[in-house]
């Protein structure tokens, strides 16, 4: 059970900080910081810098993504921004434009 859900149709603007999971099916603008997993659903739109344990992108993200564990861009997902993560997967059919920093 996700800690926070930004449902379809909801728009959150500002600074979002949490210690729990976050699922975004709506729109988020600003910054998002979570100590747990962040998941952006197929209809989710994020115009924000993301910082989390792990990030799964199935929707649209514009902003830098930083994950202490991993970042997964799923098929249909779209990321414009830089990624800083230990592990990164980009599925076939995903779009991505930005730099990758994997701590090598």
């Amino acid at each position: 059970m996700a800690g926070s859900v930004v449902g379809a149709g909801l728009i959150v603007e500002g600074e979002f900080t949490t210690d729990e999971d976050v699922v975004i099916e709506g729109t988020l603008r600003g910054t998002l910081t979570s100590a747990e997993a962040v998941s952006i659903g197929g209809d989710g739109v994020v115009e924000a810098d993301l910082r989390a344990l792990s990030v799964v992108i199935a929707g649209q993200v514009t902003g830098n993504v930083s994950a202490s564990s991993r970042v997964d861009i799923q098929a249909g997902g779209r990321l414009i921004g830089d990624v800083k993560a230990g592990r990164l997967t980009i599925a076939d059919g995903a779009s991505f434009r930005g730099n990758v920093d994997m701590d090598v």
């Binding site: 930004v6 979002f16 900080t17 949490t18």
Partner: protein, 188 residues
């Protein structure tokens, strides 16, 4: 989950939350919350900003105006510092409210406030209603004592439009109950 959106118990949002659908707040929002659906605030929820929605159930704390298109319900753990406006308002014992309460469901507006100079406990409202309350006072002071009746009629004329708007239903119902009771007494 019954709610389309949830702001978790550890979540802090500094900014606005708006849009469609229902929303459950368990954490903290420092900004305005405005959705078309229902809003529920858990016992530990804190909102510093205005809250608007269809049906708003407050179990937590709100520092700001609460406006609902259907109803506002404040449960026993709820606390509101701000004005309440909704067609229906429910309050449980133990709920804390500091602000004006209006059940006509009209969106907050200064003209509507000025027409209702009812006794209120909020400092901000005292300021707003002061001109209305103060207006009749100088008239008897300016007029001589014999003109007191004229001043009184002036006061009534000034007071009538002010009292036109909120005819509280309990006041109307009370004489009916008394009339019934009187009829029963006469039958006996």
């Amino acid at each position: 989950m019954a709610y389309a959106s949830v702001i978790g118990s550890s979540a802090v949002i500094r900014g606005n939350v708006r849009g469609d659908g229902s929303l459950q707040i368990l954490g903290r929002v420092e900004g305005d919350v405005g959705v078309t659906g229902d809003v529920a605030l858990g016992p530990d929820a804190v909102v510093v900003g205005a809250v608007s929605g269809a049906r708003i159930v407050i179990g937590g704390s709100v520092e700001g105006d609460v406006t609902a298109s259907e109803a506002v319900v404040i449960s026993e753990t709820g606390k509101v510092v701000g004005d309440l406006a909704a067609p229906r308002i429910g309050m449980s014992e133990g709920a804390l409210v500091r602000g004006s309460v209006r059940t006509d469901g009209v969106a907050a507006g200064n003209s509507a406030r000025a027409r209702v100079p009812a006794s209120r406990s909020v400092e901000a409202d005292e300021e707003r209603s002061r001109p209305v309350v103060a207006r009749p006072a100088p008239r008897p002071a300016a007029n001589a004592a014999p003109a007191a009746s004229v001043a009184a009629s002036n006061n009534n004329a000034a007071a009538k439009p002010a009292l036109k708007r909120p005819p509280p239903p309990p006041v109307i119902q009370a004489p009916r109950a008394g009339a019934r009771a009187r009829k029963r007494m006469l039958k006996r």
